[in-house]
C-alpha cells in the first residue's frame, strides 16, 4: 500500500489520544461451549450424517407404528413370509405380521433400553466417581476395589444370571446392564475429577469457602459434561448390542413383544426360506450401532476441552 495515493492533510494529524472503550472491547461474537461444539459437529460429515440417521430412526420409532394400518401383533394367515411389497414395505413374518411396524416397535424397545441403561450408568458412575475422586481416602479405596471385582467377572455372565433370576422384560434388562455398566463410567469420571481438583479455579472455590458438594456440582461436573456426553453416546450402542444379544438367546424381551434382537432371532429360524426376516433387523442393529459410534467420535473431537481456548 502506498501512502502517497491517499490524501494526507495536516488536519488528519489532529491529536485524539487513547480510546478507552475500544481497548477493552471484545470483537469476537460471544459463543458458548455447546454452541461451538454444534458448529464443529456440523462440519464433521460422518458425525453429522450419523446424527441425521439417528434422528430419523427415533422419529420413525415414535410415529411409524401410529401411522400404519397394521398393529405390531396383528396376524394375517393369508400373508405369511411375504417379501417387500407396497402393502407390507418390509414384508411379513411367519405369522403374517407386518415387519415395518414390528421393526419400529422393536426400535422403541431397543433404543429406549440403550438410552435408559446408558443414562443410569452415567448418572451413578459420575456421582460415585466424582465424590470418590474428589474426596479420596477410604471411600475411594473401597470403591475402586469393588470396581476391580466387577471388572474381574465377565459381564456377560452377570447379565445372564440377572436375567435368569429376574425373568425376561425391559426392566430386568436395564437392571442387568446397570449392574455391570456403571463401573466404567465411574472409573472414567474419577480420573477426570482427579485431574480437575488441583486446577486453580477449584482451589479458588475452596478459598471462597464453597462446600464440597457445591464444588463438585458447580465447578467440576460442568467441566466433564462434554466428555460425559461423549462417553454416553459411546455407551448406548453397546447397550443396544447387549440387549439384542440377550433377546437373541431368549433371555431378553419375549415375543410377541418385539425388539431388534427378538426380530433377528425369529429371522434366523427362517433364514433359508425368508432371509429378509434376518437381514432387515440386522441392518438396523448394524446401522444404529455404527451411527452412534460415529457420532461419539465426532462429539469427542467437537467437545474436547484441550482443543478449546488454547489459541
Amino acid at each position: 500500500m502506498n501512502i502517497n495515493d491517499k490524501k494526507i492533510t495536516p488536519e488528519l494529524f489532529r491529536h485524539v489520544g487513547k480510546d478507552i472503550e475500544e481497548m477493552e472491547s471484545i470483537s469476537r461474537p460471544s459463543i458458548t461451549f455447546w454452541k461451538e461444539g454444534w458448529l464443529r459437529i456440523r462440519t464433521d460429515k460422518a458425525a453429522f450424517l450419523a446424527l441425521i440417521i439417528l434422528t430419523l430412526y427415533v422419529l420413525l420409532a415414535i410415529f411409524a407404528p401410529m401411522l400404519s394400518r397394521y398393529a405390531f401383533d396383528q396376524q394375517d394367515a393369508y400373508a405369511m413370509r411375504q417379501s417387500f411389497s407396497a402393502d407390507h414395505w418390509f414384508g411379513t413374518d411367519s405369522l403374517g405380521r407386518d415387519l415395518w411396524v414390528r421393526i419400529w416397535v422393536g426400535a422403541r424397545v431397543s433404543l429406549s433400553i440403550g438410552f435408559i441403561a446408558a443414562l443410569i450408568n452415567s448418572v451413578i458412575g459420575t456421582v460415585l466417581g466424582g465424590f470418590s475422586g474428589y474426596i479420596g481416602g477410604k471411600f475411594d479405596m473401597i470403591l475402586m476395589r469393588i470396581i476391580d471385582v466387577i471388572y474381574g467377572i465377565p459381564s456377560m455372565i452377570v447379565n445372564i444370571l440377572v436375567m435368569v433370576v429376574l425373568g425376561p422384560g425391559m426392566e430386568s434388562l436395564i437392571v442387568a446392564m446397570v449392574i455391570t455398566g456403571w463401573a466404567g463410567t465411574c472409573r472414567f469420571s474419577r480420573g477426570e475429577v482427579y485431574r480437575l481438583k488441583e486446577q486453580e479455579f477449584v482451589l479458588a472455590a475452596r478459598v471462597l469457602g464453597q462446600s464440597t458438594f457445591m464444588i463438585i456440582v458447580r465447578e467440576i461436573i460442568p467441566n466433564i459434561m462434554g466428555l460425559l456426553v461423549t462417553n454416553l453416546t459411546m455407551a448406548i450402542p453397546s447397550a443396544i448390542f447387549r440387549e439384542a444379544f440377550l433377546s437373541y438367546i431368549g433371555l431378553g424381551i419375549s415375543p410377541p413383544d418385539a425388539s431388534w434382537g427378538v426380530l433377528a432371532k425369529e429371522g434366523t429360524a427362517l433364514m433359508q426360506v425368508a432371509p429378509h426376516l434376518l437381514y432387515v433387523p440386522a441392518f438396523f442393529i448394524a446401522t444404529t450401532v455404527l451411527a452412534f459410534n460415529q457420532l461419539g467420535n465426532g462429539l469427542r473431537d467437537a467437545l474436547d476441552p484441550r482443543l478449546r481456548g488454547t489459541d
Binding site: 477493552e24 472491547s25 471484545i26 469476537r28 460471544s30 458458548t32 461451549f33 486446577q199 486453580e200 479455579f201 482451589l203 479458588a204 472455590a205 475452596r206 478459598v207 471462597l208 469457602g209 464453597q210 458447580r218 465447578e219 460442568p222 467441566n223 459434561m225 476441552p305 478449546r308 481456548g309
Partner: protein, 328 residues
Amino acid sequence: MRNNVDQKVMLELDDVSQYFQLSRHKILKAVDHVSFKIHEGETVGLVGESGCGKTTTGRSILKLYTPNTGNIYFKGKDVFSFNSEEEKRYRKEAQMIFQNPHASLNPRMTVREIVGTGMKIHDLVKPKEMDAKVEALLRQVGLNKDHMSRFPHEFSGGQKQRIGIARALSVDPDFIVCDEPISALDVSIQAQVLNMLKDLQDTRGLTYLFIAHDLSVVKYISDRIIVMYLGTIVEEATAEELYRNPQHPYTKVLLSSIPVADPKQARKKERLVVKGEVTSPINPPDSCRFAGRCPNAEKRCFEEMPSLCDVSPEHRVACFMIEQYFRP
C-alpha cells in the same frame, strides 16, 4: 517507608513444614521449618526459584494443605483449630489471586457467576442487588457491564487476571495471597495489574503476601522481602536493604542474574554466574541447601543447617559465613 514495629501482626507462620510423601522412601520437603510474620497493611514479597516452596507456603496459609509441623496464626488465632463460624469468617477475610489466569477461572461459568459466587456463599448481597455489585467490582478492575455475560475464554490474559482479582475482592478481604499474579502476563499488562494491586491496597487497606520469582517485581511492590531456597528461608529484609546490602550468596546471585534492559550496562556488567542447578527438594540433606552451588561453601556448610540470625534489625540471614561475625 512504613514502620512495622508498632503495627499489629496479621499473619504469623511458626515453624511450618509441608512434606509430601511421594513413595515409601521419597519425601518431598516443599516447605521446611519456615517462620515469618506479616503485619497489617504491609506487603511481604516471597521470592525464589521453582521448587523453593513459595507457592506451597501460600497455599498452606489458606489451608489448601495441612502442614506437617508448626502453626499458622491469623489475627492471633490458630487457623487449624477454627470452629465452623471462624472458618467461614477466615474464608471471607483471607483470599488468593492465582498464577495462571487461564486455569483459575471456571471455563463453564460466566463472569457474573465467577465474581458473584463468593458474595452468594457469604450472603453479602441480596440476589436483586447482585448484578449491580458485580458491575461495580468489574469497574474497579477496569472492565464493564458488557463483560458480565461472557465466558473466560473470550478474554485476554490480563483481563482474565483482573476478573480473578475481582473475584478475590468480592468478599471484601483483609489479606490476599498473590501467587505469582503477573508471571503469566505480557510485559505491558504486568504494570497494569501491579498498579491495580497497589491502588487497591491503598483504598482498601489490604495486606499482601506477594509470591513471585522475579526479584525486580517483588522489590517494586514489597515493603519486606523473604528469599526462599529449597524450602527454607535464606534471607529476610526490607526491600531497600535487601537490594542495597544483600548478605546471602544466593540472594547476590539472584540479584545479579536479572537481565537489565540497558544494553550498555549489559555489555559491561560482570555477572555472578553460579554453577549447577537447583537440586531436588526430594530427600534434601540436613545441611545448608545452597552449599552445593555456593562459591564460598566450607566444610561446615555441608554438615549443619544454618539458622536465621539478625545482621541488623529487620534483616535476617541464614548463612554460616555471616553468623560468625555477628555472634554475641
